[in-house]
Subunit: 205 residues, 2 copies
């Protein structure tokens, strides 16, 4: 029995590649979507066994949000995340959103097929080089930042001074300092540069 798959990627070339590589006795590609919104609409209609989804989708909702929306469908397809990057925060986000697995784009085609079949069977499937990191991430999850803190962190990452952030956010410098102090504590750092670094490394921003 063949497993039906919906492809979600904003690059036409990648979709064609996946189609070419996946189509076989055991896997049948029933549709393609370029955005998360399109993916959800198509999945609701086509009922694929598995949705193979990029985490980075140019415009619109991102891969994590798409995963969550797909998993809320009835019946819910298994969602397999396929992407170029291995950012901890996003792996965890996708898994938490109900993804069955996570593969890097540079793996061999047969690994992807294997992942699809296992995802269709209800298995979890993680690229070996990532399993470790995911587990580590689960052991020391990054403390969650509040919306405001993320906002400050983003400004911080653009190189803004406290004064500039205060102006941009319509608050006093004291408030900005307060937010930054909290951010530093949560990220276990003691300088803006290091905060930027860990924020980027963990995919927090």
């Amino acid at each position: 029995m063949t497993t039906t798959v919906l492809l979600v990627d904003d690059h036409p070339v990648v979709r064609s590649g996946l189609r070419a590589v996946l189509e076989s006795d055991s896997v049948h590609v029933v549709g393609e979507a370029a955005t998360g919104e399109e993916a959800v609409a198509l999945a609701a209609h086509l009922h694929p066994d598995v949705v193979l989804c990029d985490l980075r989708l140019g415009a619109g909702i991102d891969g994590v949000q798409t995963t969550a929306a797909l998993r809320a469908l009835e019946p819910a397809p298994a969602v397999l995340i396929l992407t170029t990057f291995d950012r901890d925060a996003e792996i965890l986000g996708a898994i938490e959103a109900g993804a069955a697995g996570y593969l890097l784009k540079d793996v061999a085609p047969d690994v992807i097929i294997e992942g699809i079949l296992r995802a269709a069977g209800g298995d979890m499937f993680l690229a070996p080089d990532l399993a470790d990191r995911v587990l580590k991430g689960m052991r020391n999850p990054l403390p969650k930042l509040t919306e405001r803190e993320v906002e400050v962190l983003r400004l911080l990452a653009t190189g803004a001074s406290n004064k500039e952030m205060a102006r941009a956010l319509f608050v006093t410098e004291a408030t900005v300092k307060s937010h930054i102090a909290h951010i530093f504590t949560k990220l276990s750092v003691d300088s803006r540069s290091r905060a930027i670094h860990v924020a980027q490394e963990t995919g927090l921003i």
Copy 2:
């Protein structure tokens, strides 16, 4: 007459996609390479009209170096850069290394084909949304940093303090401050965070 093309990308899926998308009356894919080294070796042997090359090639030499090596062949193939990112420094690097053009991966297949044909004909071909930026980059080229300065900048971007950099580089803090002062001047910034930001934005690091 058909134009012969060599594909260079570290992702098998992308290569398959490109092959599926490009193969036509006017374009014939004569080979695929996963690394820059492999690309040069194959190109020397297959003499393709055009090499379609990703800038980011997991292991080994990068796209810019590959471009330079390919252009040094006799006869030299036209090199068309195809990538996901639009980092100014790399665009310029590839153009300087002799690339005929630069396309983003999310463009439509027929745009890629058009780019290949024009590259084969000796034209320059830039994705429209990039041409502006390239020209801007040429008008305000980033002042070149010395090796030492780049080294300091990299450390800076990891969040290191002056003291830590001094230790890491076996110099005094005064020296580190001196380098940083020069970096700031060259990048026209006045804080470490902003230096990190422009360095990343311009692909300097």
